[in-house]
Symmetry: C2
Subunit: 283 residues, 2 copies
């Protein structure tokens, strides 16, 4: 296997398998055709045509959210969508735009609305190189149980800003003190679009780097991680190149870190595939 | 204007305006339809069909290069291609693959073969921020005269490797000593595809960062720059946002630097457009 395998896996989206979900003439999601069909029973909320699905529920964000929620509840009952997660994501035309409605996180891939997350590369200097703090995901996580993860990672839920989410998750997942997380440096965004069993994940991950002191040892307190390990950046790269041990999207975040810090170097035969494969252009 | 304007300008390629240039069943270039038509007169070198142009010249790289050169000379005489530059670029199926032939640099956009360059962000710490060394391109440069540039930038010519090109250009363009340029850190690749008056530029720029000491002052000796200036990174960003003072592709290289170093921050409304707009996926 290779670095490319992770990039291909996270970009498995095939346009011919989906129709756009539109609101007010603009695309806000991507519905796999079988998922679009399942919405025909709710004509007061969604107008399903052959080449598109339109959100037709009227009213403000609260009213539309309630209408969509009723559909989600019905789809959960029919097992089209897994049990809801009691956490909602804003759905908007673009990052920063006012939300059209709030959607249960578990239903996001069904509708293929864009989801935003924040991932933190926690690292320290280790001799002449860098070492990454890596989290072990708990065995009971619904997504990617037991996989390796960044030091901190989380979705940006409804009503939470980016900085706010980073501080909260850094505290809950790794007990990073406020004065330390304040030193995290934004370093870009990883973006990909993939098909899963549930639908389409259209994800944008805001990436931060944080150099931690040698005496910092992360501790988890929300049960999402079973532990942490310090891994030389080169060893993390080897692990990515040869295994699926990291959560699918974390491979991309660490590859981005490796490119930016000169750990993955231009003499690697996959260098250009990696350097140009981690930032799907938004549309 | 905005950051996006520079990204859009460097990605003006429209697939419907070109046909592929193929060799041995693989695409090696992109010919605008008028350029493809101009090749019909050379059936011993190029087979022109409605939907593709095939390189049919036979022999090793030297023989194919000679055959293509004769075509280039004729096209120069007919003013389809500007006067040749006496510098050749390798044409290969992908970076690192054996070259199929060598092509005069001036003819590269006509055939739309991929060109590789190296750009160096030279910077130093300046109080709490970073300052960039910026070059002023000479008034007699054929491409982008009088525009602002990176500290070092150059195309990767036939027979030159990446590290080799960086060291040579760093010496010629800015008199960066060997022991200093050895500290340059590879930091990724910027990629874009644009239509120009001559054809298609399908460019990949290997990006390096170099922190220079405070007492380093660049000096040009190959006549490509008329001078240098030290510019606070934030001021360079403002200049990019509000002008076309920088060479078209240098805007992208500095935006990439600004994203990676946390100078452009997620609260900028264009952050995601920039973070996902600088690395066109290779195909």
């Amino acid at each position: 296997m290779s670095f490319r395998d992770h990039i291909i896996r996270c970009n498995s989206y095939a346009p011919e398998r989906v129709v756009p979900l539109v609101a007010g003439g603009e695309r806000i999601g991507l519905l796999r055709r079988d998922n679009a069909e399942a919405l025909r029973r709710f004509p007061e909320v969604f107008a399903v045509a052959d080449d598109r699905v339109e959100l037709v529920a009227q009213g403000d964000a609260d009213a539309v959210s309630r209408a969509v929620d009723r559909v989600v509840d019905a789809l959960v009952a029919e097992k089209h969508i897994p049990k809801t997660r009691s956490e909602t994501f804003d759905v908007a035309r673009r990052w920063g735009a006012p939300p059209l409605f709030r959607l249960d996180r578990g239903a996001v891939p069904f509708f293929g609305t864009r989801a935003y997350g924040v991932h933190l590369n926690g690292y320290r200097r280790d001799g002449s190189g860098l070492a990454l703090w890596v989290g072990h995901r708990a065995a009971d996580k619904r997504v990617a149980p037991n996989k390796l993860d960044n030091l901190v990672a989380g979705g940006i839920g409804n009503g939470h800003g980016l900085a706010d989410t980073l501080v909260k998750e850094a505290d809950e997942e790794a007990m990073i003190p406020t004065d330390l997380i304040a030193r995290a440096v934004p370093a870009g965004a990883v973006a990909y679009r993939m098909e899963t069993t549930l639908g389409i994940r259209d994800d944008v991950l805001f990436v931060y780097d944080l150099e931690v002191p040698d005496d910092f040892v992360p501790q988890n307190r929300d049960g999402e991680f079973s532990g942490f390990a310090l891994m030389a950046a080169g060893a993390a790269l080897d692990r990515i190149r040869t295994s699926f041990d990291f959560k699918f999207n974390v491979n991309l975040v660490i590859l981005d870190f490796a490119v930016r810090h000169g750990i993955l170097r231009p003499d690697d035969p996959e260098y250009l595939d990696v350097a140009t494969g981690l930032h799907r252009r938004l549309d």
